[in-house]
């Protein structure tokens, strides 16, 4: 009982937020009781809640009231009523100093205001057409849609302004994100404005919408979409992978940068829910059958290396990817090398018998560098029974292992072997000398074994690196 209560308390903020979103995706911005979530830029008396409405009296210096957070792309709906010669407006994408757009809200007054400065106009930028009825003392409805560079204003259900930044010279460099707000009652004392049912649909909560922005050819739009993708976090991961797989170069580039941020944020200590969600999407993508070289799957593998867990499922998925060819395989091996723990060692050992011979040296070296004694038997077996580069790599890997148990195997393999193997075994034994955790007796044993394998030939640098090209 008590346990359920605790769970309920933890979930409460989340569920209540979800519950407040209506099926159509709109969320109230104004609760009708107080101004929580709003900031009055001017004098606090300029705005008040009266009978469940947001009310502003003229002459009180409220300047404007704005949301606490910024919005880039959204559909904003509200109802407003003006007094007889009231004057107000809705601001979007404003910065705190007030630069941004105003959709004008006006009662008809003298002197007459032109269509560029009347209700429904984007003040000073785009005239209202058709000009809405401005009769005051009635509730009217405004709906403003801001989607990247397009801003559409509907008054009482009729579109009266529809503008594209790139088509309106004065709007060209206007911001694509900022605060949403309302102007105070802008005429003198005695005049007023009221707002109610203020609600918003944040388009940047929709991965599909954000993807459109990332696919835009406009750098400013890509930047806003990148910010939205990073804010959205794990729900964006799969969509970003799609873009990495299919987009053009700038889109892939932006999507990859965003995915790296999403993964980084989800990897933060304490973000375990986010981490699980991202891991699931990354693993799903890596499992999905597709073109071997697909950049999205290679990227997923790479990201798993940073955030993946050391469990059997992750190990299995990475191992299957490792058995492919090309970029996916390379990225999977990199990921397996980054992730600590026995599960990955076991998977690498299993993969060893399944990959092509040309691939085995890479796996052997990766196994050695893990310094996990579980690899000892597999490495010893390869060192004893194989030839060529595979044998050399197995010998070198036994040295990387940094375990005293490698010494007798290296001594045995080196004895009677060709010079090249002998030299590699001696090098491997010497590299054991620096391994942490080896006591003096173990070091002496390694040094003695190295002495036994004394070679007379000049050393060849690192035989297990790529063979030197022929002269």
């Amino acid at each position: 009982m008590r346990r359920w209560l605790i769970v309920a308390l933890i979930l409460w903020p989340l569920t209540s937020a979800v519950a407040s979103a209506q099926p159509n995706g709109f969320v109230p911005l104004f609760n009708g009781r107080n101004l929580d979530g709003w900031v009055v830029a001017g004098s606090p008396e300029g705005f008040a809640v009266v009978n469940g409405r947001m009310h502003s009296d003229g002459g009180k210096g409220g300047q404007w009231i704005h949301t606490a957070s910024q919005y880039a792309n959204f559909v904003l709906r509200l109802e407003w009523m003006l007094s007889r010669v009231g004057n107000s407006g809705i601001f979007i994408r404003n910065d705190p100093t007030g630069a941004g757009f105003e959709v004008q809200l006006l009662a008809p007054w003298t002197p007459h205001r032109d269509d560029l400065h009347c209700t429904g106009s984007i003040y000073g930028h785009v005239p209202a057409n058709p000009r809405p009825d401005e009769t005051p003392l009635r509730w009217r409805r405004a709906e403003i849609t801001a989607a990247y560079k397009r801003v559409t204003v509907k008054i009482d259900g009729v579109v009266c302004a529809d503008a594209d930044y790139d088509q309106v010279p004065t709007m060209k460099d206007m911001p694509l994100a900022g605060y949403i707000g309302m102007q105070d009652s802008h005429t003198g004392a005695g005049e007023w404005v009221e707002f109610r049912t203020i609600e918003i649909k944040d388009l940047d909560q929709d991965p599909g919408f954000v993807a459109q922005g990332l696919a835009s050819t406009d750098p400013a739009v890509r930047r806003v979409a990148y910010d939205a993708a990073v804010r959205l976090g794990p729900p964006m991961a799969a969509t970003l992978l799609n873009l990495i797989g299919r987009g053009d170069a700038p889109t892939r580039h932006a999507a990859q940068a965003a995915l790296e941020r999403v993964v980084a944020n989800a990897s933060a200590p304490g973000a375990s829910q986010e981490a699980s969600a991202v891991r699931r999407d990354l693993l799903d993508r890596l499992c999905a059958s597709g073109d071997n070289g697909a950049p999205d799957r290679a990227c997923a593998a790479q990201m798993i290396g940073l955030i993946g867990q050391a469990d059997a499922r992750t190990a299995g998925v990475l191992m299957n990817a490792l058995l492919e060819d090309g970029a996916v395989s390379a990225a999977a091996l990199e990921a397996m090398q980054r992730i600590p723990g026995h599960a990955m060692t076991v998977a690498l050992i299993e993969a060893l018998s399944q990959v092509r011979v040309s691939h085995q040296p890479a796996l052997l070296l990766a196994l050695g560098a893990r310094r996990d004694d579980r690899a000892l038997a597999a490495l010893g077996d390869m060192a004893r029974t194989r030839g060529g580069q595979v044998r050399l790599a197995a010998v070198r890997a036994l040295g990387l292992l940094g375990s005293a148990k490698a010494t007798p195997i290296l001594r045995e393999v080196g004895a009677g072997a060709p010079q090249r193997v002998k030299k590699e075994a001696a090098d491997a034994l010497i590299s054991l000398l620096d391994a942490p955790g080896l006591n003096d007796a173990a070091r002496s044993a390694a040094l003695d074994a190295a002495r036994e394998l004394a070679v007379t030939q000049a050393p060849k640098a690192a035989a297990t690196m790529p063979p030197l090209p022929a002269r």
Partner: protein, 435 residues
């Protein structure tokens, strides 16, 4: 008797030589190069900065240049032609794979000016082959590489100089002297800056590499990818896969002064922020600010000019703020503020640091004497560590805490995984097992 590590290593090296394990050059190390003997040098990566290496070293009379090596034959041809202008009778040869240089017992010194992702292999394989090394900055591509380089340098007892040649200048010596003298009081804040970072590298399609370039060898231990002219040559610095952007390019030059003058250890925490480039092909930040908490002071990195007196046109620049005054310096200038008084020098502070004979000269002298050069491996790795910490903090977007004892971040698995990027097989990092 319990052997100390140093005893053991010395004994081990002697034992190896005695056992005839083929470490002829290790044995050779015992016999120092005498003062009037020639030093045989070979250069790796001779486009760009490497062309400078060729001339600098050829200008020393006791240096004999044995080879110029580059994965792009155009660079190697040019470098050889350049060498012939200084040494018309040179017998230097051209190589494309630097490991050929390591097979030659007559070569004493390797210098390299390769991309960052090659530095660790260049240095460690050279140490193993008994060569002394003059290596370009930054020290290493990642943190674990830096540790492996330090271990190898010690194990094979080689001389290493990081190519931070500004270190040798008189201004740097004087600034270190002034700060060390205590005229600023207790220094509690250090600001470092290098203005810029937004690299306008346009998106370009991948293509075949130029016929003169061995692209796979250029990539070396870095992930395989098709050639792109917007990566190589020159602009590799602005991609995470090969380097760390303007920050990693300039950190060691200007942070050098702070580490030298204040004898700093490792920071306890690091955080970094900035902006990812979206409009250009590059991946390192358009700008980046970082903040380090050292036990005794705070250090800041800015990629925009800080609004402080003395910053003026100093770039890259450094500001020391102490309880009694401030000092602002660039590569070749400085200004001091004590009690509101502005001056360029404090004559009462005596010259206490011996001046450098020049960065490359200092290196060659140390090759002969066995002494530690001015930007030696231990110093270089200490001063490079915070650079790696900051790039990881930037990429993760969070503050990180460093455990210097364990050489790892505290409670951050992903940050710890980012200390090293596994090598593309069949390349592997020798000595990694010891880190």
């Amino acid at each position: 008797m319990r052997l100390t590590r140093r005893h053991f290593l010395t004994a081990a090296a002697a034992g190896l030589a005695e056992a005839g394990l083929g470490f002829r050059d290790l044995a050779r190390a015992a016999e120092k190069i005498s003062a009037n003997e020639k030093i045989v040098v070979a250069h790796v990566g001779v486009g760009g900065m490497g062309a400078g290496h060729v001339s600098w070293f050829a200008d020393f009379p006791e240096v004999e240049t044995a080879a110029v090596c580059d994965v792009d034959s155009t660079h190697a041809d040019k470098a050889l032609a350049q060498l012939k202008e200084i040494r018309p009778d040179t017998k230097a040869v051209i190589e494309s794979d630097f490991r050929r240089l390591l097979e030659r017992p007559d070569i004493d010194v390797i210098t390299y000016a390769t991309p960052d992702h090659w530095h660790a292999l260049n240095a460690i394989l050279a140490f193993q082959a008994g060569k002394h090394v003059y290596g370009e900055k930054p020290l290493s591509y990642d943190m674990i590489e830096g540790q492996a380089m330090l271990k190898a340098c010690r194990r094979y007892d080689r001389v290493f100089q990081l190519g931070t040649q500004i270190h040798a200048g008189d201004n740097y010596h004087r600034v270190a002297e002034l700060v060390k003298s205590g005229i600023l009081g207790t220094v509690h804040t250090v600001r470092l800056w290098r203005v810029g970072g937004d690299m306008a590298v346009q998106f370009a399609p991948d293509s075949d590499p130029p016929p003169t370039l061995d692209w796979d060898m250029w990539l070396g231990p870095a992930p395989k990818r098709p050639y792109n002219r917007c990566i190589c040559p020159f602009t590799f610095r602005y991609y995470w896969d090969y380097s760390g952007g303007v920050f990693a390019d300039f950190w060691c030059h200007i942070a050098d002064l702070a580490f030298w003058a204040l004898d700093l250890g490792a920071p306890r925490t690091v955080s970094a922020s900035g902006s990812d480039p979206l409009d250009h092909m590059v991946t390192t930040p358009s700008f980046m600010d970082a903040e380090f908490e050292f036990p005794s002071l705070k250090m800041y990195w800015h990629s925009r000019r800080p609004d402080i007196r003395g910053a003026d046109d100093r770039d890259p620049g450094i500001q020391f703020v102490g309880t009694r005054g401030e000092l602002v310096a660039s590569y070749d200038s400085r200004v001091i503020y004590i009690d509101g008084r502005e001056c360029a020098d404090i004559p009462e502070v005596p010259v206490t640091l011996p001046r450098s004979p020049g960065h490359q000269r200092n290196f060659l002298d140390c090759v002969k004497s066995g002494a530690e050069p001015e930007s030696n491996m231990a110093y270089a790795s200490r001063m490079t560590l915070p650079m790696h910490m900051a790039t990881i903090a930037y990429r993760l977007g969070r503050k990180l805490t460093w455990d210097a004892q364990r050489g790892e971040f505290v409670g951050d698995e992903t940050a710890n995984r980012m200390r090293h990027r596994p090598y593309r097989a069949p390349w592997h990092l020798p000595g990694q097992e010891a880190c």
